[in-house]
């Protein structure tokens, strides 16, 4: 946290210094009524919001999985897309989400988290269709496959 605390009058006299502090992480300002205000890069704010949102989701999901029955879609809310998964998949999601959150927090970058969420969302979408689901989670049956040929124009 920055040691320098600006005052409202500094916004005129030390404007560039204030903005530099904000660009470099955060600029703290003590308002006339004593309220502490902070200006920071928007990208950092988004990072903090994203991390807070997903840590909260992680904690919520963790509490759901302590129960015997799986959470209902209405309980999952924004995470209702997870309803396609069985318990073992949800536990695997939790483990990967935890690792991604720790990495994103340490790196101050949500790339690992974004990749994790994206891949699980795609998987959930693929499992929505019963036929696709049966192929993806079922055993490999070689007799079910035929040779495919290089694509060509049908006209």
């Amino acid at each position: 946290m920055s040691d320098v605390i600006f005052l409202p009058t500094d916004l005129a006299s030390k404007r560039l210094e204030f903005l530099d502090a904000a660009r470099n992480g955060q600029a703290r300002l003590r308002d006339k009524d004593g309220t502490s205000l902070v200006m920071l890069p928007e990208s950092r704010l988004r990072l903090l919001e994203t991390l807070a949102k997903w840590w909260q989701a992680y904690m919520r999901l963790e509490s759901f999985l302590r129960r015997t029955e799986l959470p209902r879609a209405s309980e999952l809310g924004e995470l209702a897309w997870l309803r396609s998964f069985e318990r073992d998949d949800l536990e695997e999601f939790m483990s990967e989400l935890h690792d991604a959150l720790v990495a994103a927090t340490a790196d101050e970058d949500t790339v690992a988290l974004d990749d994790c969420i994206r891949a699980w969302r795609i998987t959930a979408r693929q499992l929505e269709d019963p036929l696709r689901r049966s192929v993806l989670v079922g055993p490999h049956v070689p007799e079910d496959y035929v040779e495919a040929s290089e694509p060509h124009d049908s006209e």
Partner: protein, 94 residues
């Protein structure tokens, strides 16, 4: 067969791009199309030697899940050869 509709659905160029990818370098990311490993049970290899399940976005309205095997044999004493198994084709849009 679903696969035979691919060129008509997404165009020959993108269908050919998918074909080139899986026939030449199925285990690496495609330079153009978006790919990822499916997660959980859906992403696990179907058996020894099989890769994890790769999700390949041919276009915004066509996605393919596949696994590959570098040394597949149809019989115990037959020659090992690389194969790609297309598990699912999804033609619906996001």
């Amino acid at each position: 067969m679903y696969y035979n509709e691919l060129a008509d659905r997404v165009g020959l160029k993108q269908a050919q791009q998918f074909w080139d990818h899986v026939s030449q370098d199925p285990g690496n990311p495609d330079p153009i199309a978006s790919t990822c490993f499916l997660r959980g049970r859906s992403g696990r290899p179907k058996g020894p030697g099989w890769s994890r399940t790769i999700h390949y976005e041919v276009s915004s309205s066509a996605r393919i899940d596949y696994q590959y095997h570098d040394a597949y044999t149809t019989e115990p004493d037959s020659d090992p050869h690389p194969v790609v198994a297309i598990l699912t084709i999804n033609y619906s849009s996001h």
